[in-house]
């Protein structure tokens, strides 16, 4: 009889515990959503919760493309997320927006301001111009380069290639457009001569799906914070033009 009573009591306690745990989780989810993302990064308790919720989301939805260690995949043009180089800015709000609506995902709010045009295939510049532009980019990256070709490449960059318009005069990229830095050391599709040449010849159109209808708001917030917090390098200020 006592055993039965104990079993009943255990069941009741389990139920109470489940209710408390459920309530706590809802409370934490509310806190994570109501608190400004920057404040969460400064709050160890909230950040721990964000990491707890965000990590499995990353593993379940992002890892297949971005890799287990956020390392990306240049062969497929998947950005390295561990280097704290963010195409659209490293503010958690910016990262959250990218997760929510994606990049060229087809969602009306997706990031889709600019594409890398296929400059050679569309006839805007000649193949030799592209080779020269590659030499100019090699010079910016501090690699060995052919000087006369790099000089010609510079005039392509600022002239008929019109590259400066999106990638900025200093080739550091513009987060508003999601255009990458062309001066290295991080390259989405690889920084070797052939990869750069292929980018100029054929253009690039990377995409990231929109998760707004797949994940809950708190999962998306937690995932954004997980990514920002996991990035290896110290945060840099947002570049806006």
């Amino acid at each position: 009889m006592t055993r039965r009573r104990l079993a009943g009591l255990a069941l009741v306690l389990l139920g109470i515990f489940a209710i408390v745990a459920w309530t706590h989780r809802r409370h934490v989810a509310g806190e994570l959503l109501r608190t400004e993302p920057d404040q969460i990064l400064k709050s160890p308790a909230l950040l721990r919760e964000a990491m707890r919720i965000g990590r499995p989301q990353y593993q379940g939805h992002c890892q297949s493309c971005h890799g287990a260690a956020l390392e990306g995949d240049p062969a497929r043009g998947v950005p390295n997320l561990a280097g704290n180089v963010w195409l659209y800015g490293n503010d958690p709000v910016d990262v959250e927006r990218t997760i929510l609506y994606g990049i060229r995902s087809g969602h009306p709010k997706s990031r889709n301001i600019a594409d890398m045009p296929a400059l050679v295939r569309t006839g805007q510049i000649a193949p030799d111009d592209a080779r020269d532009a590659v030499e100019y980019l090699q010079s910016l990256a501090g690699r060995p380069y052919d000087k006369p070709a790099a000089l010609r490449g510079r005039s392509i960059y600022f002239g008929k290639g019109n590259c400066y318009d999106c990638h900025a005069n200093d080739a550091k990229g513009v987060t508003d457009y999601g255009t990458p830095a062309l001066s290295g050391p991080t390259w989405i599709y690889g920084g070797d001569r052939e990869s750069l040449y292929q980018s100029i010849v054929n253009g690039r159109h990377g995409m990231c799906p929109a998760w707004v209808d797949v994940l809950t708001p708190v999962q998306i917030r937690a995932l954004a914070l997980y990514l920002v917090a996991t990035s290896a390098l110290p945060r840099v200020s947002i570049v806006r033009h």
Partner: protein, 311 residues
Amino acid sequence: MAAHEEFFDISKPSVRRSMTLLAGGALIGLGLAGYGLFTAKGTRSHAVPPEAVALVNQRQILRSDFMTQTQTQFVLPFAQTSREQRRTVLEDMINEELMVQRGLEIDLPSYDPDVRNALVAGVELEVTADVLAQQPTPEELRAYYEHHKDKYSTEGVMQLRDLLVKSDASPPGAAAHAAALAAAAALRRGQTLDAVIKKFNLVDSGRFMDAGHADTGDIFQFALRAKLDDALYQATLPLHDGEVSDPVEETDGVHLIAMIKHRFPVAQTFEEASSQVWTDVKKEAQVKVRSANLAYLRSRADIITAPEFAQ
């Protein structure tokens, strides 16, 4: 047997146990129904959910949209924006939501052409987003070019006179034909255009005029196609510099085309046409997706047309 022992002894029936379990089941059911009722979409709520910054007639203004809008409007990271700035943005977003809801309330899309156009454009953009983002491969581009080679050539340009032996009769009489034939023969013998015009009483047809005078400037082939009837157009295309067409009868008389200068279209190589091929491939893909979308919409729509338009 004590009452509580009877309650837990499941080998024997117990009214008390049955009623207790029934009540428990009913309470759980009510609890689940209540939870579903108060959390389902469309449920009225007086509390703003944590993912939203405001509810406007129960429609959420998402916190993430609000933060992005604030950043964009003030060109600052969200953390650096002031309470005042945030309030301004929120008020603007509430106003916008109110206006959108009002627009739907008064059924703006049903009668405002601008709203209808915006909706159509929005839907088309969403449908064709994948196509716009896709990169045709070099092989696809080449295959398209090979399949549509006749499309890729430079535009033909010509300078000409469209001369007419006027005739009041319809169809023009034999005299008009004879005059046109004689004029063509004279031009082929090398007589000047002005002399032949004067001798055979020819006039410009009026289809190529510039400020009241015959336009002998460059005329693109596509423009010629728009201005000439098919027979005359076909008679014009093969003419080289200085050649004259055979007479072509039309309702206003008999026409002769005197070609002054003709730069024929030149076929473009794949490399020369690559930009246009790229555009055409994209355009064709968009047209296909758009047609498929319309076919799908039509397949699930209930469209009834008036008898005179029924197929």
